[in-house]
Amino acid sequence: MSAIGAKPAAGAAVDTTAMVVGIIILLLVIGATYYLFGSGLAFMALIGIIIGGVLIGFGVHFVPVGGAPAAMGQAPGIATGVAMLAAGAGLAGLFGGAWAAEMGVVVATITGAIGGGLMMAITCMFVNFIYVFGMGIPSASGKVAKDPITGDTQAEFKSQGTEGHGLPFVSYVGGVIGGLFGGAGGTLIYLMLLDLYEAELPAMMNALPAQIVPIAVTLAGMFAIGMFLVNAVLAAYNITGTIEGPHDPKFKRFPRAVVASAVASAICGIVAIMIVAL
């Protein structure tokens, strides 16, 4: 089981050169957007998209994912992939946020966050339900001696020959926080693009604002889902395999993912903006 035993090839160290290059690319894209479109709606959309992408990339690090070892009760976490679980939660949040779009950016973004958190809360509860009542296995972390929130000792609840199993309370809370960030980030990207498309498309397509709403919603939704997956997968590469949640040492790698998500979101964002604003 190399997923458990192997030392990650890319450690927690931050590569300063790569970070500086990333930040320069980010500033160049922001500068190019300002130069091309001024400080109007398009520029604000890009900033919103970058913030949304960073929220997603940061949030994925909270989600406790155990992958294949978790499916055999060999490691703690949820038995599925990092990117996919985060996507499931974030898109459920995007669904709620998109529904509340007409309520304004703040309410819609928070609604999206709650949607993602709700999905993760129910899923994480059912993970523990299956472990405890289906398999007779209590939760135990493999990374810390005591649960940082409840103070429960962990080592004696690890069964022999495993790294731990189930979701200790700190992992559960991490899952919900990850869902909140993911849902908020996805919704923010959607709202920013929707505002821009609703403003620009009528003149571009020579149609009434009411006529372009379905096109604007579809385009913004597609870009939001796409950018969500970009950021979730980037964060998953940063995590390399499995993570238990905010108490896992791998969590400290998040600055790399924040910079990478900001750069990737900026590049995706300028493309999404150029299709209407150029």
């Binding site: 992958g67 294949a68 296995i137 609840f157």
Partner: protein
Amino acid sequence: MESIVFGIGITALAGALATVAGAAENTESDIGSQGDPNSQVQLAPQMGYIHRIFNKAVAGEPPAYGLWIALGAGIAWAFMAMQINPILAIVLGSGIAVFVQGVYATTAYLGRTASLAKFGQPVYVDILKSMTTVTMAHAFVAIFATVTLCHLINAALGHPFPLPLLGIVWGIALGAAGSATGNPFYGKERQYQNQKFGAGVPIAASGNIVRYAEAGERNSLDNGWFSAKLGGPASGVCFGLIVFLELWRTVLFEEIGAGWGAIIIGIIIILVFTVIDRYIEVWARKNYGPYTKPAEEASS
């Protein structure tokens, strides 16, 4: 008032459909061995354990279901645009999506199993013939139920996303909920039925999956029968609750306080599930007890 009652009815129906979809999705993925436990099905022949388990984990459940349900929803949407009755359109869309799933299952089984030829794992044609249709049947139920709930959300509740976009959103969420809930039950309880109950599988036992049934060799239909007892229904209830509560809080409470009502109710629901989760965790620690005496040192 009437619109609220109508909304609650649609919400309940969507929740019920999601429950059926979740149960069918998990049973389908366990029969096809598509979730994370498939790592053991792939590993077993390499450790010298030849088996007759289906093996189609080319993609994880969330992207695979994202594809199939978006496909089903997209085709149904196109048929509806051609003025075909929605029920018929959804059946046709789901049917075509299931054919794609069948092609995927066939090529995935042949490809993955053929890659194990050097370890002596044969490709069983009878397994391909008998299992593929069963996964397709379960996939049809999952796809049909999810596309229908997406249609209800779009047409009856007025969500702005078009049907194919809702399909990809709820398809990925369905796969995520189903694989998170159902995978441990299939991976630990079924594939490692010969290991101790109430403990994780020791890493040293990896690959030594159970290969014999009450009579003859175990195949994936036996696994579907087993996981349909708890893993499938639990996945169903999980996905059903996600869909139901998400819709319920929006339909009933979004109008209160300009959207803040739904947010507050959402926070309360999250807190309720947090309390339930903590109760389950503490209950297990008290009733099952530790495996060893408490250690002083921190584990690494």
